[in-house]
């Protein structure tokens, strides 16, 4: 091609990127704001709680633990910090899993929960709680999450196997997931049916997501998994964005739709199984976190993926904070709060940015 032919469109290309840089700068600003919001939520979260410790006390306690007396040391280092950190990690993990599921299954309603992963974790926990006396030797704090995790992974593997065997389209995967949700819920109900009232209460309580049972091990595991998976997701941002042009279109250009769907399902299974096995069901975040990020940042996954992690973490952190201050002297399960604060936020955003919220 001749030099002259290139030069003119070359200018057009420069103009294209020039304009895009403005858009990208705006989105970077949004990401920075989301990050600031998340930090703010975190600070509020570590400040909130029944013991009367202000923000400054807590910060001082974090930076010089030796200055603390025994009681405050326990409050800050064994309760406030792990609870607040697990909120960030779980919120980020679920929202990341959600955004990847929604994109690869091309379904705005998809989340780790529509895939049955959370219902399977509950079934695993219920199974352990009901037959626990028969599994001797290990501590409950280890075995309960282990059961929840392995059931969640089994559910994910079942869906993966079914969808690869039958060459599943994205809709069939969602259908398998919903069928699995019903199956797991029925089995959990069956377990509850034969269990005593006390055991039922234990199951129900586990099922209601609760951040307060997390300790440093849980924080470390969830954060480590999140930190391992996020770079892999970030490596796939281009193809994830390309998928939003339609599956048929992507296949036609030779993009490996099957591979990306498989690896995303594996990532989602691990992320959400690890997240829910320690804290129970925290629905909503995996569904709404990505939508909020999408409305604020658009669908370019280079911004959307980090954005979804931030919105998820901020939302759950905020919910965790509210769960401690809403009813004086009591901690409302965060499961209840996420929906109660999440739904209004979500509705306001939808009416505010109706066009960005639409999905075709």
């Amino acid at each position: 091609m001749s030099q002259q032919e290139i030069s003119e469109p070359g200018n057009a290309g420069a103009g294209l990127f020039e304009h895009y840089r403005l858009i990208a700068a705006r989105r970077t600003m949004v990401l920075i704001c989301l990050f600031a919001l998340m930090c703010l939520a975190f600070l509020m979260d570590i400040t909130a709680g029944p013991a009367n410790l202000g923000l400054l006390d807590v910060l001082k306690g974090i930076f010089s633990p030796s200055s603390l007396d025994q009681r405050n040391y326990v409050i800050i280092w064994s309760v406030r910090l792990p609870d607040a950190l697990i909120a960030l990690a779980v919120g980020g993990a679920l929202s990341l899993a959600g955004v990847e599921t929604q994109t690869t299954l091309n379904n705005p309603l998809a989340s780790p929960f529509t895939l049955g992963i959370s219902a399977a974790a509950t079934l695993g926990a219920a199974f352990f709680i009901v037959v626990a006396p028969n599994v001797g030797g290990f501590s409950q704090t280890l075995m309960l999450p282990a059961f929840a995790f392995s059931f969640a992974m089994m559910a994910a593997m079942a869906i993966l196997t079914l969808s690869t065997l039958h060459g599943g389209s994205s809709t069939t995967i969602v259908l398998y997931g919903i069928a699995l949700v019903f199956l797991c819920e029925a089995l959990t109900a069956a377990l509850q049916y034969v269990a005593s009232a006390e055991v039922i209460q234990q199951i129900v309580f586990w099922n209601m997501g609760n951040l307060t049972r997390a300790g440093w091990t849980e924080v470390a595991v969830v954060s480590a998994v999140f930190a391992l998976v996020l770079p892999l997701s970030l490596r796939d941002v281009w193809i994830l964005t390309a998928l939003r042009g339609g599956e048929d279109q992507a296949r036609s250009s030779g993009l490996s739709v099957n591979r990306i769907r498989l690896v995303v399902m594996i990532r989602v299974a691990i992320l959400s199984a690890v997240a829910v096995c320690f804290v129970g069901t925290i629905g909503f975040i995996g569904l709404v976190g990505p939508h909020i990020a999408r409305m604020l940042l658009g669908e370019d996954h280079r911004f959307l993926v980090p954005g979804a992690c931030l919105t998820g973490a901020a939302l759950l952190s905020l919910a965790s904070c509210l769960s401690k201050v809403l009813v004086p002297g009591a901690i409302v399960p965060v499961y209840i709060i996420t929906a109660i604060i999440g739904v209004p936020v979500f509705l306001v955003l939808i009416s505010w940015r109706r066009k960005e919220a639409s999905w075709q």
């Binding site: 469109p9 057009a12 042009g245 993009l255």
Partner: protein
């Protein structure tokens, strides 16, 4: 060197034989090939078989190599198909979508090179003013043009277009096809386009293939292929090929035939 040959190609989908032994004249670099035929005659199936090997047992080779022997990455680097349906109307912009396609196919271009390529492509197809608008706000025709950009951005040796002009107005029908033809000529590529408009096919194609019920009804140089008997046989219409005042052949379709007219 782009050479495509299709010999005795059978395609079965869901247990049904859709293409029943298709053989095409050899297609060479720089050629624009038109694929015409009534609805459900197998045009899209043929293009998908070439691009993705869907349901094929051999029969297609590109540059002397059977497509079934090519790895996905090798196929992706050489062949692009613009599917019949335009890209989804998401909130992405043509710029974002096109860029993600270019990056996802690992073109290894610098931002500046990619910017040039995208600017050139979007410019030729009249999309520069819309480059940063949301796809769900663009008209169907514009979205179809975006689909064509997506297929062309990795500069494939084999460019397959499935009804690229179905949603376009007159001006862009002509533009889209001349962009495709110039692309084939200047890059020594082969472009195969499924078309419904026989006049466009007559004007732009070097070679025409007429499909009917999964078989080749005729193939060859456009003016030799298209005549009243063929149109009556394949489409069930009475039509004639006239010369316009400039001497170019023009098809005039008069009526749908009643007898033997199939759905």
């Amino acid at each position: 060197m782009a050479v495509m040959s299709v010999a005795d190609l059978h395609v079965r989908l869901s247990g049904r034989e859709i293409l029943k032994g298709i053989s095409l004249p050899e297609m060479r670099a720089g050629q624009m090939v038109g694929l015409i035929g009534p609805n459900a005659s197998g045009k899209s199936t043929l293009l998908r078989a070439i691009a993705m090997g869907n349901g094929t047992q051999g029969g297609i080779s590109l540059g002397g190599k059977p497509v079934t022997a090519m790895k996905r990455a090798e196929r992706a680097a050489n062949i692009s198909l613009m599917p019949q349906t335009p890209p989804l109307g998401s909130t992405l912009t043509p710029f974002e979508l096109l860029r993600s396609y270019a990056r996802a196919t690992n073109l290894g271009l610098s931002n500046a090179q990619l910017g040039d390529r995208m600017g050139e492509l979007l410019g030729k197809l009249g999309l520069l003013p819309d480059a940063h608008r949301k796809l769900n706000e663009l008209s169907g025709g514009k979205r179809q043009l975006v689909g064509m950009c997506l297929a062309m951005v990795n500069e494939p040796k084999y460019l397959l277009l499935d009804e690229p002009t179905s949603a376009l107005d007159l001006r862009w029908q002509l533009t889209a096809l001349s962009v495709a033809r110039n692309y084939a000529r200047s890059r020594e590529a082969i472009c195969v386009a499924a078309l419904h408009d026989i006049n466009l096919a007559l004007r732009f194609c070097d070679l025409l293939v007429v499909l009917k019920d999964g078989c080749v009804a005729a193939s060859g140089v456009p003016e030799e292929v298209i005549d009243s008997a063929l149109l009556a046989d394949v489409y069930g219409v009475s039509a004639r090929l006239e010369r316009c005042s400039q001497g170019a052949p023009v098809l005039i379709a008069d009526a749908a035939n009643e007898i033997g007219a199939s759905a």
